[in-house]
Symmetry: C2
Subunit: 357 residues, 2 copies
Amino acid sequence: MSKKILVLPGDGIGPEIVAEAVKVLELANSKYSLDFELSYDELGGAAVDKYGVPLADETLARAREADAILLGAVGGPKWDAIDPAIRPERGLLRIRSELGLFGNLRPALLYPQLADASSLKREIVAGLDILIVRELTGGIYFGKPRESKVLENGERMAYDTLPYSESEVRRIARVGFDMAMVRNKKLCSVDKANVLASSQLWRVVVEEVAKDYPEVELSHMYVDNAAMQLVRAPKQFDVIVTDNMFGDILSDEASMLTGSIGMLPSASLDADNKGMYEPCHGSAPDIAGKGIANPLATILSVSMMLRYSFAQAAAADAIEQAVSNVLDQGLRTGDIQSEGCRQVGTREMGDAVVEAL
Amino acid sequence: MSKKILVLPGDGIGPEIVAEAVKVLELANSKYSLDFELSYDELGGAAVDKYGVPLADETLARAREADAILLGAVGGPKWDAIDPAIRPERGLLRIRSELGLFGNLRPALLYPQLADASSLKREIVAGLDILIVRELTGGIYFGKPRESKVLENGERMAYDTLPYSESEVRRIARVGFDMAMVRNKKLCSVDKANVLASSQLWRVVVEEVAKDYPEVELSHMYVDNAAMQLVRAPKQFDVIVTDNMFGDILSDEASMLTGSIGMLPSASLDADNKGMYEPCHGSAPDIAGKGIANPLATILSVSMMLRYSFAQAAAADAIEQAVSNVLDQGLRTGDIQSEGCRQVGTREMGDAVVEAL
Ligand SMILES: CC(C)[C@H](C(=O)O)[C@@H](O)C(=O)O
Ligand SMILES: CC(C)[C@H](C(=O)O)[C@@H](O)C(=O)O
């Protein structure tokens, strides 16, 4: 039976980079006889333009039926002044939530070929390979109540709620430990347990889950210290597990350590490893349509898809190897350009990966 | 009339570094005829040991009467297993809140003498001088309700609330703009307005306050992007204003960019510039009692006290100059040690500053 993949190019550079990733996906499809069937729809601003909402119900239905989703990126100035309820980002948040994609994997990997692109000293980041596991469907992103109101004294006020239940913490902790088990068996759980009630529960539950993983060396760190340690000595980390908001902040910080955010993929998985795959970077409206965006993060997201949703490790490895080869050949998009390398556009980079594959 | 300064040495390395800062304060006192009267009390773990609570009511009363407070640092493993309601940190949070110290100034300044201590490349951080203005008495640190409970299905859950009112945002925004006016007239307000209701209000109010500061160039940035930009190109910032939680994370990240967190002071001010002054670093229990901690952040906190609470710019400048001089002399504590410099202990460093002053 064929596997369904829903492709959501999204906004900004989304369509350009997704087009290259689809070429790679199609090639892997035929080369490894994967029997994938692709269909397309819109998310974010493009969906607002087409359907009037950032995630249409029919798109959501299609996403539910799909075995995996490939996403470009969402958002852009065109929709900045829109009613907050239908901002492009709401579509992204809704699809994550509706599909139960609670397990967000964000690797921060330094490509040896790009070692000098980091703003950190070479010895601090050489060989960096950490994985941030971010809880993606709970916490302050979705907590109720949330409200904006006018007080009796005429003052405006607004509030959000940061809730976590035991089962939400337990399932994301398991993802963290499972990932640590197939990596270097070190897990650092990041919270703010010296201040937040939700973090105190988080820490207790992570400790409980730890009993099932005696081989994993577990540590706890406050989020402010983690933000510091990522700059000071990022290689002390293997896997980091943390909540939705802290994961948003720390994963962006960590990805920038590598100096190549245009290279970093991500996976958002549900309890059955059905997943949505997207680059870590955003929709980069400033360079949209110019054909210069780096498609490698999206291409590597295809590799993650093959690995996590379809258990096709060989095909996934081959794509990663192909990406490494084009870097070895000295091809670079503008964002990772360095002396002595050949600067190429989005399409040329995509074609080179297809060629290498 | 004499001015009252309450000294709270706190825990860990607190007493050692405060002792050196007090020497500097006493010298400034006599040299500039400041008529300061010092008294001492406990906060944090030391207060738990003495009074059974991390901030005793009598200490709070003394703090209210004081014109300024000098704090070392609080917390340590000794009190880790204690009832969360009387953790050392609760004392710190309570004194901030009770005294209305909403305006937290955290400079991240790279000392030219320590340029190589940063984990970032020299050209990325050389000349770095940014100021983070953190809201310190509102947001998720103090939001009610907050609770830990068992649901009907037997599951544990916990939640925190992140509230901001218009007046809370307005007064901290003013601090941000005022600081920008005496610096480089650039203010970046950091929020997560694409997700949080509280951030949406934050952004609206900051825009309103901006009308009173036409000379300041205001920008807005999402917190995840800010965490990234601080690593990528920190010198793009002049003043950053942000909420309590984001400020906690970003100020620690920013201070680490300088590679010399042992050098960074902070001020927490109320509406009348009454303030509490403390180093940005923590109580470092691992090196407590060894006489090797760096007292310079605390000494520079004294300088901030003279500048902000007592409008003694000349005395404040003189202390900063004295610190710069001892660095020029090549004296270094262990945390900022580098080749060719002379490693000294806490007391020797304090004495050198006194000497230079
Ligand atoms: C676009 C935004 C809502 C989103 C988030 O905060 O989760 C993005 O920053 C991300 O990290 O995927
Ligand atoms: C000790 C802790 C409660 C405190 C905070 O989070 O505010 C500290 O990290 C700080 O930044 O002063």
